[in-house]
Symmetry: C2
Amino acid sequence: MMKTDTQLKLIEIATPLFATKGFSSVSVREVTDSAQTNVSAISYHFNGKEGLYQAVLEEQFTPIMQALQVAKNNNSLSPIERLTFYADQIAYIHAQRPFLARFISSEVTNPTGYGGPVIEKHLSQVYQFLRSTLQEGIDNGDVQPDLNIAYAAISLAGILNFYFITKPLIQKFTPLTEDANAQYTTHAFHIYLHGIINKA
Amino acid sequence: MMKTDTQLKLIEIATPLFATKGFSSVSVREVTDSAQTNVSAISYHFNGKEGLYQAVLEEQFTPIMQALQVAKNNNSLSPIERLTFYADQIAYIHAQRPFLARFISSEVTNPTGYGGPVIEKHLSQVYQFLRSTLQEGIDNGDVQPDLNIAYAAISLAGILNFYFITKPLIQKFTPLTEDANAQYTTHAFHIYLHGIINKA
DNA sequence: GTCTATATTGCGATAGAC
DNA sequence: GTCTATCGCAATATAGAC
């Protein structure tokens, strides 16, 4: 299904509004005023406010699914290399979609009912990917054998994603340069990796 | 200012509602119906919906301020010991206030205007505490000297807090035992510590 | 497809009886 | 201090002209 100019415009305007204010705090008038159209456009094109929100969410999540697909199919990489690839992808995706972290965080803490299932499905896949990659690392001796892979998977997701979730706040009390995203990710992953590798 | 039974009851009922649905998705009727009183009670006791929300937030944040005060005053501890103390406190506080993580996450992603400043003030203090403690660790040789303390501080906050923010979601695709909170915190902090200590 | 005008609902706040 | 009834407003959705 091809999207019209009006549909694209509405999604573009609605994305930062939903991300920063939350679904229920955004009025459809707010969106249509900025998009220089009228309220009925949302009902006509998206079957109401919830439909617009769903369209925004789906558009936000496409790069995550793609990156995960690539990481899984990349069988030539070692477990550690695959985790490194994941870390790099995180920085790249958040640079590409600066509002993604807010949508995830928002849907995790205050699920909307339509967004909840979408987030759940995707994050569950990320979790399983990290778990199984860590297990492979233990099996081939690169990773400490006494590691709890469930907790270690959450730790990695946390050390990488928390920064992007809290970035709007962090910026208020510490300066962040333009390339801070990649720098943080590299540094944080470095700490994590030194914490889990097997010292031979 | 001493709180009456009705005030305490309203705060108790409102806390999980605000935490799980978000400020704007909770109606005052919803709260007063569950609290077995009437709408006007909120205006009478808290000067409106926003006043009730502020009272809820303040009640949630008291243990963080207290823990930080104790950690700062504990000058007998080494930097590493003080970070360990902080990690233990995180698990304890979240066990004491199971909704705190949701309020923080919610206010960081979708600030309400009254909650925003409160969160900002407190989290800024936590950040400065972690930063300066890490710097002390570098100075006394316990911590790797090439560590970026700003990124390392965020990494620690992330590895510890992300779990509690996403816990409602994590529980949906992996089983968590009753003592998982403390277990996760110990394990995650262990990974982090091995990632930053100076191998002499 | 796009607009205006309106229907309808639900919200927070409050006046006033008790 | 607590209640009922109601006011006034802003929300989404939609009917119907163009």
